[in-house]
């Protein structure tokens, strides 16, 4: 294995959803740094593949259409559930089709960071708006991103900001802003939570279009002591002071490193190495570029350091096998001889990751979180379905002895260890089984 090819393959797995053999050939000849530039450049501008995916019409939540159990109410709930599935399917298709994979991968990272769940938000347009915000602003200033996410209808509903009133503040958003979004546990006190909640009092959104404004009568305009500062702060000041607190940069950068390279604590040296790039402007794009160019990103620790999160696993497999998010062959003529009811979103749910519905505001865990007997079975079932849906004529044409190597190339991997190679040889006579076994192999489950 050419070391440059191995490096760009790793980069494409982490900064995207893997790459085809042709993409890897081109990237290897362009070089590692040039490939980083290409992926980073994709954080802005058009995304021909992703933009070609049809966007269904999503509506904002409406008042109950009738009493519980009524025909009108049931129809409303059915429509809501249908739109929610369309939203999940839209994003999955977008990830499969994207020409700017880092932008989609970063959107997925932010979805896990600002983990907002449809099960409580119950407003499909609000979830879509947040997702588009994460996509359009995710590579910019972190502070600008937090300010915009905080004012979005989805977050306002998710953490009850709109019910935070002057006479008795609601601490939900205030606490998670510091604990999960900007600072991390240990970098604030309960008194800061109380002050921050006062700052967000009076924040509301217009139910018609989700636009944000302040109800002055509900805002607590008094002085607040917060993170060592005192002033009559409003919510925007509360966010500004949190993002500019000395603890914030390390917290945010350690999360980026943990999800793109391998899990680290905020005190880790690699986090220090990203501080200059992130800078006072909380520049996410510059931090990511420094991350991908850091020598430790290509270390053995990094190569062995992450398990793919389920949707990335599924999208990567679909892209490598030339399948759409509904498992139809993207190249071949109407080869829908495998009309599978289960699309990628449903498969992802079986693997413990439901798009637009993280388990809680802390988002999904990492690595061991994805590994247990239930997900092992789900992966096996899904691999069998994907193998059966794919066009494997090229594998059929090759000699059985050459097939395990060919599958590694197809899936964008450097190769297989001896244990997996032996296992693949058991299945090599049946290309569907071979590909499916490969999709369950530890080397492929890792990112």
């Amino acid at each position: 294995m050419d070391p440059v090819r191995s490096d760009v393959a790793l980069l494409y797995r982490r900064a995207g959803f893997g790459a085809t053999p042709a993409q890897l050939d081109a990237a290897a000849s362009a070089g590692y740094e040039a490939t980083v530039e290409t992926l980073i450049a994709g954080l802005q501008g058009p995304d021909p593949g992703g933009d070609s995916v049809h966007v269904p019409a999503f509506s904002h939540a409406t008042k109950p259409a009738g009493p519980p159990g009524s025909v009108a109410r049931k129809a409303q709930q059915k429509s809501l559930a249908g739109q929610y599935r369309e939203l999940q399917s839209w994003w999955a298709q977008r990830m499969v089709a994207t020409s700017t994979p880092l932008r989609e991968k970063l959107t997925l990272f932010w979805h896990g960071h600002f983990a907002t769940g449809f099960s409580k938000v119950r407003d499909v347009a609000a979830m879509y708006d947040q997702n588009q915000l994460l996509r359009s602003a995710g590579g910019g200033s972190f502070e600008a991103l937090v300010q915009a996410v905080a004012k979005g209808e989805a977050m306002m509903r998710w953490l009850d900001t709109a019910t935070d009133k002057k006479n008795h503040p609601n601490e939900n958003f205030a606490r998670e802003l510091m604990e999960l979004f900007t600072l991390g546990l240990g970098n604030y006190a309960q008194a800061d939570v109380v002050s921050a909640a006062r700052g967000f009092t009076g924040w509301v959104t217009d139910p018609r279009d989700g636009s944000w404004h302040i109800q002055p009568a509900q805002h607590d305009d008094g002085y607040k002591t917060y993170l060592g500062h005192t002033g009559n702060y409003g919510g925007e000041d509360i966010i500004h002071l949190a993002v500019n607190d000395p603890a914030s940069a390390r917290f945010v950068l350690s999360k980026l490193w943990s999800h793109f390279a391998y899990p680290v604590a905020p005190s880790d040296q690699v986090v220090s190495d990203l501080l200059a790039a992130y800078g006072p402007g909380s520049d996410v794009t510059a931090a990511l570029k420094a991350l991908f160019l850091h020598p430790a990103f290509r270390s053995t620790t990094a190569r062995q350091g992450l398990v793919k999160q389920p949707i990335a696993y599924l999208v990567g497999a679909a892209r490598s096998l030339g399948l759409s998010a509904t498992l139809e062959r993207t190249q071949a003529a109407p080869a829908t001889s495998h009309p599978l009811a289960q699309g990628l979103p449903a498969m992802s749910t079986r693997l413990a990751q439901t798009l637009f519905d993280p388990p809680n505001v802390g988002g999904w865990g990492q690595n061991a979180y994805w590994i247990d007997t239930a997900t092992s079975l789900a992966r096996l079932d899904i691999a069998a379905q994907m193998g059966a849906a794919a066009d494997l004529s090229a594998l059929h044409a090759s000699a059985a002895s050459a097939r395990s190597e060919a599958v590694a190339i197809m899936l964008g991997l450097d190769g297989w260890g001896p244990t997996t190679t032996a296992a693949l040889n058991h299945a090599a006579g049946d290309p569907i089984s071979l590909v499916a076994t490969a999709l369950t192999a530890p080397e492929y489950v890792l990112e």
Binding site: R175, N360, G417, L424, A427, G429, A436
Partner: protein, 432 residues
């Protein structure tokens, strides 16, 4: 695979179970291999099982369960259950003053004792209380309580003051062998409480495990599940979970045979979407089928009721009430009802005073429910925290350390020295 033996009524007989709670006689190597549906890969799978010591240890009975072969069912209520609106001090004026909208009137709650009443949406648990099958532990918390969901969850799951390290049930798994059937969690992701340093519980989403029909694939998958010195740590854990899946698959197939509980496995076909009641129904089926499992975990989410709490919380408690009652009824049909104890945990209770959103913010101590046919029920355990002498954040002061609840389960149900798992001694409570 032959049909399982049937009893006089034509119903399949539960497999024979030894004194140590282990299955006897039926888990031959041949049966395990046949049960796994492996044809071409039989030798490979057998080697895997042998290497992991499962068959041999079962045959020798060296990894026996203790003489207290009880069964603990952990019910995790995610989000922080409002203990004060579950076991309600409705007759305390301080309660009604703190919750003018959210609180219940004395006449609304289902009376228990000491002026406390169960939430009106829990009539079935009230009946179980009257039948002495439900106990309530009051004021459960821990020192220096955290108001963070995640840190508090970590503390409860690890039973360590700083919330770091392995899960408390994971440590029990580490100390008791390697059979993945010992502890089973319903749902696609395993809670940290059930992950040890070396062992982890099994996660299932239904009572039966069906592998894909392609035999070369199953053979390849089984071979991939083998340990290999070429694997990195994460790769080895991926392979290890696959090996455990195959073991559990065999165990479940041998256990239930043709008696596979179609009622629940059918409902759970769309895995990952099992309802809370479905989860408990699978647990009851496994218990009644004689599974050697000593710990089960099920979960119910959405208890983080910061806003519009009353109707949402009532819906959750009604769900809990119905599912727990059905579970207790189901296990009463089997031979092990007296050994089964179900208990709820949640990362914290909620603030005494309601907020302006018709909800409550994060709190501290809370009431836990313990139910079972062998529970010393109809009684309150622990002291009721004061509603007027609150901590600096307006939260309850705990009276019972949650590790005392764990210690009681460990000692009475799992039959181990609690300090060996908890790292320190805690008073054992009298509910078992």
């Amino acid at each position: 695979m032959s049909a399982p033996p049937t009893g006089p009524t034509g119903q399949p007989e539960p497999p024979p179970v030894g004194d140590d709670g282990l299955l006897r006689g039926r888990l031959t190597r041949r049966r395990v291999l046949a049960g796994a549906g492996v044809v071409a890969g039989a030798g490979i799978l057998g080697a895997t099982l042998d290497q992991r010591g499962w068959l041999s240890s079962t045959a020798n009975g060296t990894r026996g369960h203790s003489s207290s072969g009880g069964i603990a069912v952990l019910v995790t209520l995610y989000g922080g259950n409002d203990g004060l609106n579950t076991v309600v001090p409705a007759s305390d004026p301080a309660y009604r003053a703190a919750r003018p909208d959210l609180g219940y009137q004395p006449g609304e709650v289902l009376p228990l004792a000491d002026g406390l009443g169960l939430n009106p949406k829990m009539p079935l648990m009230k009946k179980r209380w009257d039948d002495r099958q439900l106990a309530v532990i009051r004021g459960v918390g821990y020192p220096s309580p955290s108001l963070s969901h995640f840190q508090s969850m970590d503390i409860w799951q690890t039973a360590q003051p700083d919330g770091t390290g392995s899960g408390w049930l994971g440590r029990w798994l580490d100390a008791t062998g390697s059979d993945p059937m010992r502890a089973i969690s319903l749902g696609a992701s395993l809670p940290p409480a059930m992950r040890g340093e070396r062992q982890a519980a099994t996660a299932i989403t239904s009572g039966t495990i069906t592998l894909p029909g392609r035999s070369p694939l199953v053979a390849g998958f089984a071979a991939c599940a083998q340990p290999g010195s070429d694997r990195s740590a994460l790769e080895a854990s991926v392979a290890g979970s696959a090996a455990e899946l195959l073991q559990v698959r065999s165990s479940l197939a041998s256990l239930t045979g043709q008696a596979a509980p179609a009622s629940t496995s059918g409902r759970l076909a769309a895995a990952g979407t099992a309802t809370f009641g479905d989860q408990l129904a699978v647990v009851a089926d496994l218990i009644n089928a004689g599974a050697p499992t000593q710990v089960y975990q099920v979960s119910l989410s959405s208890f983080d009721t910061h806003a519009n709490e009353k109707s949402a919380h009532e819906g959750l408690l009604a769900n809990l009430d119905g599912a727990l009652d059905s579970f207790l009824t189901a296990v009463a049909r089997g031979p092990r009802a007296a050994e089964v104890v179900v208990f709820t945990v949640s990362e914290f209770g909620r603030r005494v005073a309601q907020n302006a959103s018709g909800g409550t913010d994060h709190g501290t101590a809370s009431s836990l429910l313990v139910a079972g046919h062998g529970v010393r029920g109809g009684r309150l355990y622990g002291d009721q925290p004061s509603l007027t002498s609150l901590d600096a954040n307006g939260n309850l002061r705990w009276t019972v350390d949650f590790r005392s609840v764990y210690a009681t389960i460990l000692a009475s149900t799992l039959g181990v020295e609690p300090a060996s798992v908890l790292g320190a001694s805690f008073p054992v409570l009298g509910f078992l």
